[in-house]
């Protein structure tokens, strides 16, 4: 599945982190280095599998852990309204 950033969500990269703001609720979220890599991939339409590969490229981490990180973060971002599934 791919995702997109809703119109009311704005993000800003700061060094190796990203902060994401939902302008409807004014809720914001800071993403650490791992989260930022996942955000960069999925917010540009990349799939969760691609985000896992990006994590494996960047960090010495087991595939299962990378997969769990991606799944959990994407679910959290969707719940917070910071990401929405791309309708096909």
């Amino acid at each position: 599945m791919s995702y997109r950033i809703p119109r009311h969500v704005h993000a800003r990269a700061i060094h190796d982190e990203v902060v994401v703001l939902n302008t409807q609720s004014d809720a914001y979220l800071g993403l650490n280095r791992t989260g930022s890599v996942i955000w960069q991939v999925v917010s540009q339409g990349g799939s969760e599998d691609e985000a896992v590969e990006a994590l494996l490229d960047r960090f010495a981490v087991a595939r299962e852990i990378a997969l769990a990180d991606v799944t959990n973060l994407v679910a959290d971002l969707v719940t917070r309204g910071l990401l929405e599934p791309e309708s096909t």
Binding site: H8, H10, I14, L21
Partner: protein, 339 residues
Amino acid sequence: MNVWAGAERYIDRTADVERLRAHGIQLLAVRHWRATGRSVPLDLIADERFSAIAALSAPSLLGRIRCLLDGPLVVLKGPEVAARYPDPALRGYGDLDILVPDPAGAQAVLVDAGFELVDDYTFPHHDQPLHWPGSPLLVELHRFPSWLRWMTPPSTAELFAMAVPSATGIDGVSTLPAREHALFVAAHSWRHAPLRRLIDLIDVALMAEGVDPCELDVLARQWGMGRVWATTTHAIADLFSCGDAPVRSRAVRFGGRHLTTVRDRTVLEKHLAMWLGALWAPTPSQIPRTLVATIADDVRPLLGEPWTSKLGRIGRACRDAFSPWSIRDRAGTDRRTLS
């Protein structure tokens, strides 16, 4: 003049985060340190994150306010100054200063819509800041900009009439033209204390960029802040020009050592500097009464404040007379109620 190279010279003079914060240049330090391969302290990373969130939040918060209020909205400082930085998140700010024709009425409308009055202010007044739940920024509504007491600035109606679209790009939100804004930023800083912080001088330099210096001089004199403007621009030229040429400005040599050494003024120095700022009144005859009025303003209670509270604050100021001002700033309500 390259203010960034100048700012980096001062950043290189200290690694003390508190001193950099006292001059508002800690985010510029983060950028400089990263560019030169130095590690960045964790608490400055937190400052950087907050500033990024503020920069993201400001347009949406202004949009929300625009939807709720009728009439002109003129944003001062904050996002307008930050827009002149290479990255707006390099210029941190914690509130939005907005000129409106009727602050009390606007405040009531915003509170009805869900904004909350900031309740940790000791003495409620009509300028009491507002807070939108979840937003990191406070909102301050003003009827007048914070001018110097001796100035003859344009009326608020004139300011609304001359306003130009805000750098935030929000429809219906305005700001002052660069020329007037540069003078306002200089006056506002001076009101706190002459040659207050390095970041204030950088702000003024950026707001004045691209504006004819002669026009600025003429307008500054018309507004009664010609001497303040001249001192400010001389200080900027001295402090941020290329190389390590000796400081020529008398004001910087005698009252701005905290700038060249990137040191925070002490509580005592800050009060003295604020009082002596009255010496820049445009005519000699205005100086004595301005000086008396400035000192009186500083030593008497705020509107609604009992004398017991004021005397307590004076006592704390005496106790902390030789402590850095910013420590006192962060410690309690003094900064919020006095600024």
